[in-house]
Subunit: 145 residues, 2 copies
DNA sequence: CGATATTCCTAGTATTCCCATAGGATATTA
DNA sequence: TAATATCCTATGGGAATACTAGGAATATCG
């Protein structure tokens, strides 16, 4: 349920790279971050369509962040690569369910969505790019396998 | 990233059914909850191995909750069907990481895992079973839009 | 006992999604 | 104009998911 697709991990690594290095071509990002070059091209294009990066074509072109890394919330990155957080279809389509708001499982999934959205909104790209400043939640993560 | 598999949704519906109806056979749960009967059998067996339900074989056998619904946290259900919450491999295996600054997002994923675990631990099966009868929407495969 | 109802076990299949690759078209500039 | 880059479309392999199938083991009831 919560396995993060490679695409999203690649997008994050690429954005962190841009946040640190300013501007670079897809080929060089792929090389530095050990990502399949042609695959990364498509990902960067998707990030562009979502307004997270800007691009310049031609000989001295490349990609750069479209906004300051402080103002890019990680939820925007996830939305760019995977779309809206939606554990089950009915979370934003109450008409699929006979009881709508009274449907307890639906409320349960909405609560999960809210928890995830809340966390992803609270972390910015800058937090990941300046790892010294980033402190993760101190909740117990004791569970074994 | 957060699409919940049908298997987990089925498991939840089956458990809510048991919480409300006390005890029932796989076939009748499947019928009432509109779940593929043979598929549900395997799911219930998985829930048994995880200690969430108990079963009796033979003519008047069936499944029942192994604990009070108040003491079944939803995270146990998710773990039973999908295993440990693990956004990326390295969250509980730091030794996998031999990549220098490529691994920096690890704290970020751990924070996400904690946020999800925290929410799923805060909701019990009883919270979902409390309302009066309700209708779940159709199986994922039935959606006709 | 014997018919019946149930869980339990194993294997197979169809489909969908994910990851990656390939080949080029278009744009910019040194 | 040659080189470098983004942009576009199509496709295939592999893994996971959702289900299907058949039957073996077990318990109950008449
Ligand atoms: S609409 Fe999804 S559970 Fe009711
Ligand atoms: S591989 Fe994920 S933190 Fe290093």
């Amino acid at each position: 349920m919560f396995q993060v697709p490679a695409k999203t991990q690649y997008a994050i690594r690429a954005l962190v790279h841009l946040a640190r290095n300013g501007s670079d071509s897809a080929a060089r990002i792929a090389e530095a971050q050990k990502i399949s070059p042609k695959y990364l091209e498509g990902i960067l294009n998707q990030l562009k369509l979502s307004g997270l990066v800007a691009s310049d074509r031609g000989r001295s072109g490349g990609y750069r962040l479209a906004k300051d890394s402080e103002s890019i919330a990680m939820i925007e990155v996830v939305r760019a690569t995977e779309g809206e957080i939606r554990p089950v279809e009915c979370v934003d389509r109450a008409n699929l369910c006979a009881l709508g708001d009274l449907c307890m499982p639906r409320k349960f999934w909405i609560g999960l969505k809210d928890a995830v959205n809340s966390y992803l909104s609270s972390v910015s790209l800058a937090d990941l790019a300046e790892d010294s400043a980033f402190a993760f939640h101190a909740n117990p993560s004791d569970e074994g396998e």
